[in-house]
Each structure stands twice: as structure tokens, then as C-alpha cells.
Symmetry: C2
Subunit: 251 residues, 2 copies
Amino acid sequence: MARFVFHPAPEVGRVLSLPEEESHHVSVQRFAPGDNLLVSDGRGRLYRGRLLGEEKKVQVLIEEKVKEETPPVFFSVWQSLLKSPSRMDWLIEKLTEVGVTEIVFFPAERSLREGCTGGRLRRWERIALNACKQSGRLWFPEVVSVSSWEEFLHRLSSFKGDVVLADPLGERSVAEVLGAERFSDNVALIVGPEGDFTEKEKREIFETRKVWSLRLCKTILRSETAALFGASVFIAFMEVHHAGGNKDSGM
Amino acid sequence: MARFVFHPAPEVGRVLSLPEEESHHVSVQRFAPGDNLLVSDGRGRLYRGRLLGEEKKVQVLIEEKVKEETPPVFFSVWQSLLKSPSRMDWLIEKLTEVGVTEIVFFPAERSLREGCTGGRLRRWERIALNACKQSGRLWFPEVVSVSSWEEFLHRLSSFKGDVVLADPLGERSVAEVLGAERFSDNVALIVGPEGDFTEKEKREIFETRKVWSLRLCKTILRSETAALFGASVFIAFMEVHHAGGNKDSGM
């Protein structure tokens, strides 16, 4: 399945010890000393390395950089926490596959009220990493859990880019607006909880900054379906309108 | 959760006995005799009925038709069978939510080789029905399992509408083509298995009829993610370009 292993800072000529989970991955895949391995730093760079003699921690000599890319667009999904942990896991896998660059969970009145920490966050990072390997993505999404509504508003106010609120009652639809308007290459999509934001929360969002309030489609989507639907439509269209810019040495 | 119950043929003035599962649903939701209930036929019509005195099978007197709609677009997903049953279940739920009108599973060289029957099909219909209730959809998708590759090709040759093949190597992307070309309001999206179709299968598809061979996005998607991604992008855009046409008496 996996096309590469991950190390946060590969460098040509250096010998790396792979992180534990990645070492395990190499053992399972039955690589032998001398085999070529691809190593990504999760920030768009891909290296070819050679597996050294077997040790408990797998060591790789990085021999060359073979590819470097930046995402064609930066797309963040800010999703209010879901009550079902398995639906959050699922959402992280899918958003990573389609190319989202940041996933932020935040508490809202009608969602879980507290951010996630520690073990849960590490689990999410692992899911995102595996989805990157599955889909050949070299840019790993950040997965963030915001601890309070106030922190969410602060993040919203300081975001440099276009912000879209998925609003089932929005007058204009995403597809209509994508056909008519020009977005920057840095977009955040806010998705509320099942039962939507309260009126007070919506007002606070609108008071914080300019937000596009857009309908996604004609039916009512579950919260996590809305997130994936919106991300898919935006990414498909932004990839066309912001094409080019990747350096690729042909792998 | 559910906004309505299902009966295949409601008629104003008639007393219906609800199907078993729907009766159960009414009991769980603690409706009482005399309560109003919404009843959909799954073909776009919604009725208001009144619950009659408690019986083992729940009976409803249909009093008026309150809404009738046809889907703004007909969108079929033809998905090669997945090896993981839970991923197929998941896909049916999500495709139903976003508004797909037909879901066809078919065998291919690199997928499960045999169609599904009996219990599995009934399970899928139940998942689709629940997703309709969740999302307020009045038009239930058909869920079909095709038994052989030959039957799939036959279905392909007789389909009246535009056919799109999700092709990771396609030269043009879906978003590019949706912006430039005009599709009919009846589209089928073919999604191959993990590892894609064989060359022979692809050739047979192209020999059967005109097919748009389009890339969905820049990363490699799992088979079921590709299906949902493609459906989301098409439905969002087709809803804008094929707007209007629903009769709605205001519910």
C-alpha cells in the first residue's frame, strides 16, 4: 500500500533513524538492507534513500531529492467537533485524501463542548499520515483541535484568506459562486454541528470578519458529509483555476 | 432524526399499514394515535397522514399530498464492488445524502468478482432509506448489484445520458470540463476498483459507447472516495445549471 515512509527532516547525505511507527512499516513490508526507499518530510519533499543493515530502529541513508511540490491550493476545513469519534476519524481520512491542507476541530453549542487532546490528536495524525501514504500526498495536513469557541473566533479573525460558511439556508450555492467569483488560493470552510450553529454563534462569526455564507447542495447533509462535499467541490475547481507551480523532477 | 416514514403507494383517503421496519420506527419515536405523520413514497411525493388507534401494524390515514418533487438531476454512480463491506455501506449512505439517484455495483477483474444478492441488497436498501430520512430526500436511490461484467457492459450500452469514467490518468479534469461543456441532466459516473480497470476492461468500455474520460483531482483517491468526490462535484454544478422544475406546496 504505502509508497513512502515519513521522517520530519531528511537531508541528502544524512543517515536517518525512522520514527518507530515507520520502522514497523518497513519491517512489515519486508524491505531488505540495500533496498531503495522513498522518504517524505510531509512538506512536499520526497527523497530516495537506501536501507542500511538491520538494526532495531530502521536506518536510511538519504541519497537524493527526487521531488518537491507545494499544494496547488491551501484549503482548510474548520469542522465543529462531532459526537461520534468514528465519524471524525473517517472525515480526517477522506479530507486528507482529497487534498485538504488543514483540519481544525472546534467546540460549538450543539457539538462536543471540549477540544480533543493527547491520545486522540495523535490518533488523528496517524490517520492523516496513512491517508497521505495511500494517496501519494507529500504534504500532510495539520490536524488541530481548538479548545474553546473564543479561540475559534480568534483563529477566524486572524485567518488570511477567504472564509466560507456552509449554510443550509444560504441564498447562493457554492457552485454558483465558484463559477462567478474569484477566490484566493487560501480558503477556509466552516462547517457547523448537526442542528447547525445557534443564531448567536452565527452572529459572532459574521461580526468577526467577512464570510461567504453559501449553500452546498439542495439536500440536508450530515455535518461531516457537508465538510467533504464542500472540500471536494472547492478543491476540484481551485485546482483548475490555480494550476501550475510545482517543481517535479519526474518521479 | 427521521422526518417521515416510507410507504410505497400512499393515496389520499386511504388507510395504509406501514411496512414492518417503518412501524418499528413509529413506535420508537413514541407517536400517539391522532398524531400527524409525514409519509413519502420515495418517488418524490410527500403526504400528511394521521396515525390511527394502536395496532400491531401501524396504520395511517393519508389526508393530503403536501409536496411533490423530481430530482433536479439524475446522477448514477456505477461503482465496481469494493472488497470491504463497511466501505460499501458507507458509500451508499453518503451518495444518498448528496442526492445520487442510482447506485450500481458491478464486478471487475480487480474487485470482488461476484454481484451481491438477497440479504446484502436489503441491507443496502435500508441504509439508503435511512439516509433519505436523515437528509429529507423524497426520492430514494435505486441500489442495484450487477452480476457480471457482460451485464455491466450491456447496461452501459443502453444508458441514455452522458457517461463519465473517473480516470486518474485522464487529460482533462472534471472541473475543467464542467466549466466548458454542457452535460445532459442524466449522467452516470463509472468508478473502477482499487488498482483501476485492466487495459482490456477500459478498451471494452470505450468500444461500447462514447465516454468522457476525466481526472477528478490531483491526488490518488481510494475507489469509494473517488465516487463521492465525483458525485459531489457533478451534483453541485448540475444543480446550478439545471435549476427549477419542482412543484412544492410549501412544506
